[in-house]
């Protein structure tokens, strides 16, 4: 097996329509704008990708941890909500005083399993400890992360 270079690399190329395409390994995805407030926007925004990635980090992390311990988790789903500190700052409004950055990121993961709740909660604790995105973002954004078990 060839040695892997340290770190990760993604190439991002801009398009004439203002979007950008990210190329990573053999995959690609299109990003429309840094942030959008248009419900009809054609492409996913960078902020939306971040929220999706964060929720997926936790869901896939939980499923992988369960699989590794041979614990059955029938279903896991995350609902991710976030707020910017100042949305007007994000669109460059003169007079906006806050930051366009995220102020709050809330994730509720719903999981169903026949395993004991304490078992799944222990898995969840490990997922949070090992998650690259949780450990990065917790330094700069208020995170509210909750796991809810459903029967």
């Amino acid at each position: 097996m060839t040695e892997r270079a340290a770190g990760f690399s993604v190439r991002v190329s801009g398009s004439t329509d203002g979007s950008a395409t990210a190329f990573v390994r053999k995959h690609r995805f299109v990003v429309g704008s840094p942030v959008t407030f248009d419900e009809q926007a054609h492409h996913v925004s960078a902020v939306e990708y971040l929220l999706g990635a964060f929720g997926a980090d936790l869901v896939t992390g939980l499923l992988a941890a369960a699989r590794a311990r041979h614990i059955e988790v029938d279903h896991a789903e995350a609902l991710v909500r976030a707020e910017l500190d100042d949305e007007l700052a994000a669109v460059g409004v003169v007079g906006a005083t806050g930051s366009p950055g995220l102020a709050r990121l809330q994730v509720k993961v719903y999981a169903s399993s026949v395993a004991q709740e304490e078992t799944i909660m222990a898995l969840w604790k490990g997922v949070l400890e090992r998650s690259p995105l949780v450990r990065t973002l917790e330094r700069v954004v208020r995170l509210e992360l909750v796991l809810e078990m459903s029967p």
Partner: protein, 273 residues
């Protein structure tokens, strides 16, 4: 490439930039590119116009008055929506328990919108003065200062004033005629329980303001592009519905007398500074 015309707009919700982007794309399609600059308050926008950071400002009526004041009258209103002309505001009260006329507001409390709302505060107070009722002396003012700086560009203040009246904490509340129409239609106001007991005189609302020195050829190009927007064109209709108009009209200044008098009598600008 032709230098874009810099247009200012005040926004309180980033969703509003979506409408302006549609308008910007429309202007580009008419070969009259515009660059949009957004402001959080009308005061800042009038600053921008006065300092030459903007070519055209989409101004509230109060911002128009402010621009005239700060530019010593050296500005023009070049266009407005059909819906910006000949508006009135209504005084609304409970049909059985409330006053039957403006005169019966003497000694009562009246609920108004934000302190900088032409339609829900400044003009109605002026109207009452012309009816012989002085604020603070002949009636109590109960104001709802929601999103000050936006000149009533929202219904928050009017809605709170309405709720105040409905609770019985005010004899009447004030609202723009368009809001009376909307709220009686959607059930917010039961038109059998509440009624209009008086209205203001007619007044005009927003306009596109330019400084006197705005180049005539650029003004003409802007107006040509703007007036080419037609409600009968299905591709323009969504944009016009979002902006709340059926047609763009040339600017006029004959409809600002009530507001101008209100600002003078209420010392709006001297108390705001």
């Amino acid at each position: 490439m032709e230098k874009p015309i810099i247009v200012g707009a005040v926004i309180y919700d980033p969703k509003v930039t979506v409408i302006w982007k549609i308008i910007g794309d429309f202007f580009s399609s008419k070969k009259c590119p515009i660059e949009l600059v957004y402001y959080s308050t009308y005061e800042l926008q009038v600053d921008g116009l006065a300092k030459g950071h903007l070519d055209v400002a989409w101004n509230s009526p109060l911002a128009w008055i402010d621009a005239q004041r700060r530019l010593a009258g050296k500005c023009r209103a070049i266009a407005m929506r059909d819906t910006d002309r000949d508006r009135v505001s209504h005084f609304v009260a409970h049909a059985q328990r409330g006053p039957a006329s403006l005169g019966e507001l003497r000694g009562k409390t009246v609920a108004f919108g934000a302190k900088d709302s032409p339609q829900a505060t400044l003009i109605p107070i002026e109207q009452l003065l012309r009816t012989g009722l002085e604020a603070g002396k002949d009636f109590e003012v109960r104001r709802f200062d929601v999103k000050v700086g936006l000149h009533g560009d929202h219904v928050g203040g009017e809605r709170d004033a309405l709720a105040c009246m409905m609770r019985g904490d005010a004899a009447a509340s004030v609202m723009l005629d368009l809001n009376w129409d909307t709220w009686t239609r959607d059930g917010t106001i039961n038109a059998n329980e509440y009624r209009i007991v008086g209205s203001t005189g007619r007044f005009d609302h927003c306009n596109f303001t330019v400084r006197e020195d705005f180049a005539a050829d650029r003004e003409k190009r802007f107006e040509q592009a703007l007036f080419s927007m037609k409600y009968s064109d299905p591709s323009h209709r969504e944009m016009m519905d979002l902006e709340g108009l059926k047609a763009w009209e040339p600017g006029r200044t004959s409809g600002y007398e009530l507001l101008s008098a209100a600002c003078e009598h209420q010392r709006y600008f001297s108390s705001a500074s």
